[in-house]
Symmetry: D2
């Protein structure tokens, strides 16, 4: 960590700071500049509170030069992590297609969608059983029943299932689920992350509403530091002042996360845009940006189909999207 002191800092104040830092078990490398003095902190600076030091009245700036994330850091693990779920692989050059309805509604619905997306080439089935809703008055999902229906769809198609878990107390219900999803609103629910770290299931970790890439990686670190290294990062759009789209899909997160971490990175263009007809172009853009997979909402609900609505694609739309996805993958090879 680099601590630049203000010009004309009294030696006494500087010494107090240096002693205090050494008292924390750090090595302090002092370099006197023409304009000011800079301290280089050596040792385990992970436990140093940057903001505290930055706020000291003799300090001009503080910068951490060593990342605080370790398990997910590519520096310490150069090779891509590849996560295997049934026949599907995520990361390391393979591409994973996850698709399914926002919510599991009925056996007919989930099985029909599962069969359709499998035929189009999907590798996994997604479907919400526990739904995080902004309003307590909105549909909260079929819960346990929804998970049972997902299992039936898996039996019918062989597709591994991905569904969201909102509380560690529900873990038992998810015992037979293949991939556990942590939603954007729980990205910093640290107790949940820690508990998931004690399982051996792949965790699909969605980026929070307005979280930085570093915060996303630190949340992955919570899971990995607890013993579970099977984390899949997911960019799903961030909150800005967007006027025509629900969120702003931050595709630059894909190459940057690949540079910072060895974990696979997938993209959710459905929640990011909130508009079905915006999903195909953004899905293709995600592929071109180097994503390791896509999680896309697909359903066959006639009521929606009736008006060509919502953020979900119809099976035939998904089918033609997959064909284009494969073409773009070829193109960027």
């Amino acid at each position: 960590m680099i601590v630049a002191l203000k010009p004309d800092t009294a030696d006494e104040k500087q010494n107090q700071l240096v002693d205090w830092l050494k008292g924390m078990g750090l090595g302090v490398h002092i370099s006197k500049g023409e304009y000011q003095t800079v301290l280089g902190l050596i040792g385990d600076t992970g436990k140093v509170d940057m903001e505290l030091i930055a706020s000291l009245d003799i300090v001009e700036s503080v910068s951490r030069v060593t990342e605080t994330f370790k398990c997910c850091n590519r520096k310490f693990h150069p090779d891509d992590t590849v996560i295997t779920v049934g026949d599907a692989k995520i990361g390391g050059g393979s591409f994973c297609l996850i698709a399914g309805p926002c919510s599991v509604e009925t056996e007919e619905q989930i099985v029909a969608v599962a069969k359709a997306v499998k035929q189009s080439g999907a590798n996994m089935l997604r479907g919400g059983a526990f739904k995080p809703r902004t309003s307590p008055y909105d549909f909260q999902g079929l819960k346990a029943t929804g998970i049972e229906l997902l299992k039936i769809a898996r039996q019918e198609t062989g597709l591994p299932i991905v569904t969201e878990i909102m509380s560690a107390s529900d873990l038992e219900l998810f015992a037979d689920v293949d991939v556990l999803q942590v939603g954007a609103r729980n990205m910093q629910n640290f107790d949940l992350l820690r508990e998931l770290g004690h399982t051996d299931k792949p965790i699909l970790l969605k980026r929070g509403l307005a979280n930085t890439l570093k915060e996303l990686l630190m949340s992955a670190e919570y899971i990995m530091a607890s013993g579970n290294e099977n984390v899949i990062l997911c960019e799903r759009g961030i909150r800005t002042y967007s006027d025509y789209l629900r969120n702003t899909l931050d595709l630059s997160a894909v190459p940057m996360l690949h540079e910072l971490s060895h974990l696979p990175v997938i993209v959710d263009p459905s929640h990011a845009t909130g508009i079905a007809r915006m999903v195909p172009p953004m899905a293709l853009a995600a592929v071109a940006a180097g994503a390791d997979g896509l999680i896309v909402e697909v359903h066959n609900d006639p009521l929606h189909a009736l008006c060509d609505g919502a953020q979900s694609l119809k099976p035939e739309e998904y089918d033609s999207l997959v064909r284009k996805i494969n073409a773009v993958r070829e193109a960027i090879k």
Copy 2:
């Protein structure tokens, strides 16, 4: 809910939509305009998915004209909610001073700070026992021990205690805590909110990192709809592109929340700014904006005091701040 259709919408498509809406048990009031047709939806529109309708290809815009929050809505409850905790009152014209260290560290520390802030006029003691940290490698708090130390400080001073709960599974440990705080990162941890709604304890609900006022109110609604009406809203700064401060304290949230809701609204200037010397001016500004209280970090840690640092005020600084707070309260009466 008002649904404006695109010009030249085919009657057949319009009728399909109207039938579908009626199928959801809504009354549909059709008004044909010179330029386009507008549908007024009547009945329980709370369960209607605005985004789904907005995404229909025949729909130009949708606007919800009735708030979806009910329990915390001032329209249905004109009088201020006043929450009583021991001798302290929050809301309804009274002013509540909550103060204490960021983390509970030792009995000496928490008791000393408690005595100091009480002498300055504080009504409640705050102190973190369970700490949500971005990094799994940072200090996570004394947990159960921290709560015990808070109780000792309460015994010594009579000050009710406020501390953060991160998981419903910890509820037992908080049985004897006076006010449970939900941190910014858990504002949309809906399972936690629902569980807290089943208790009868006052809940101090902090606004999330980048959440809107409506989302804050909907989270309060989760607690209230589950049966607990004792919710205190807290503005603690939102995430923007701020360069010199940690967050951007949104003080306009105070009068706006008062207009929208009958719940008390307090402000946390310490986390919002992250810089001790910025706390007094923002605390006074919060009072002038009409806040019902302030939660401020105060500690007597010599190491920090040594360099006049961090976001915590020293007891003497807090003491002089309280005097100014009272003066400003007088001024705006």
Copy 3:
């Protein structure tokens, strides 16, 4: 425009509002709902101040159902606008490659880069002569000399030239420039836009630092309403809380702008990311998202090349990028 009144609005207040609106020459269509009354405003609502009406104490919500932009609106002009510059075409299915250095430095530099990018397939040459810099102490560009050097490069290669204009008072100097660029910081410099509307030159209009798509279109509207319909929209990244990249490239702007407007939309991945190695993936993503072109920084400065730095690509990097761009274009056809 739809104006929803609050429940229990006094008839007298409602009538005052209706009379006032009629006084503005608007037709007012009143529909009494079970819960509240909604006014539908008919006629030229473009001149109505939505915020004023929304702020009236009897009004609950206001929504504009007709777009305020006309010239650039696809509704009134379904076919893509195609802009021709020399041999280059922008929009309508063709793809335009604009490349060159951030700043024009010397004749050798600009001519060398021009020849290199032309060989790679670029259709136009970019280069900054007038540089908007956050600091008055930073290099402000070669100004008039820079434009002369661009003309020499054009002579040598036949590539049309694109360069930024910061003030209408410089227009004469740009008389012989092919495309005038309006930078992000001037997107709402309305006097400049109006003046550019009086020229017949193609205008490359960059989206502002934190502007919405509607604001971008309204700025295009300033140029077009003044008589110049040759506007090229450019997404160049918006300001968020990004931690590892300079801006957040909003690629969803591409398909959405294409839906809203008939104007061509290009993307600048260089300024958006600020990091050369992030440019290729984001450039390819922009192509996959349906962009009509790319404006990319390329230079051959050995000092930069030395350390493989900055946001500019080296000619050989640009050359391999263009090959991939063509492959992706094929793939999404």
Copy 4:
């Protein structure tokens, strides 16, 4: 400037960088750490492109330890700048009340408002003659005529006048205006700033829609570096994801700007909130935060008064606000 190199950087690469930096006339202080090497750059680092260096593949982080703003920097000018306009003083402990209508409409209107606000204690009259509007179809102001009407109001009341200038080419028209306002959308219209730096008139510089404090100070620097030191900074709300208010008033900018700079800082609560009834609490909060003045919209337009609307206060509302402002000023002394 502090440049931290990545661990295991090849000596050859490091030497190339050091030579290049020295070639720029900088002194380079190398300190080898246990984990990595850190370079301290000494000399005029103002002209060094931080982003370029940060993007070099051997560089881990760069931090500038010396501010790039000089003229407005409190470090080099500890005393508050006090700007005198007629009988009014801004900065240095005095408080300046600027009030008036958003737009100048008629002589009757502007004179009536001027008389009213003067009676309430206002020190200056504001009124828009040239209006920056998002839409080219909205009212653009009375322009030259508006300025003439302001002069009449000044003659009638003795109040100095403040009005917005949008283009340097209009400067002659503003020859007799007391304070020139630069609007948020022109905060980085560097040519305009430079031209205003050649005048001797006080400049009221509004913070841009989404600009950082540093960018605001760098824009002030443009004016000051050109020779005009009479700059008044103005916080007017920034763009976030606010749902019930137009912008988010960033009051923490007031104490922070005071710490960074010697220039006076005023606040515009009218544009920040866009809602008249939110103006008084935010105005009082601004005073409590230490603002040097307030610029508030006041008009007597019956049409607005009719419905108690818009963001403008009625004269009687402004009068009672001023009384409270004075009380809060007393309280924080």
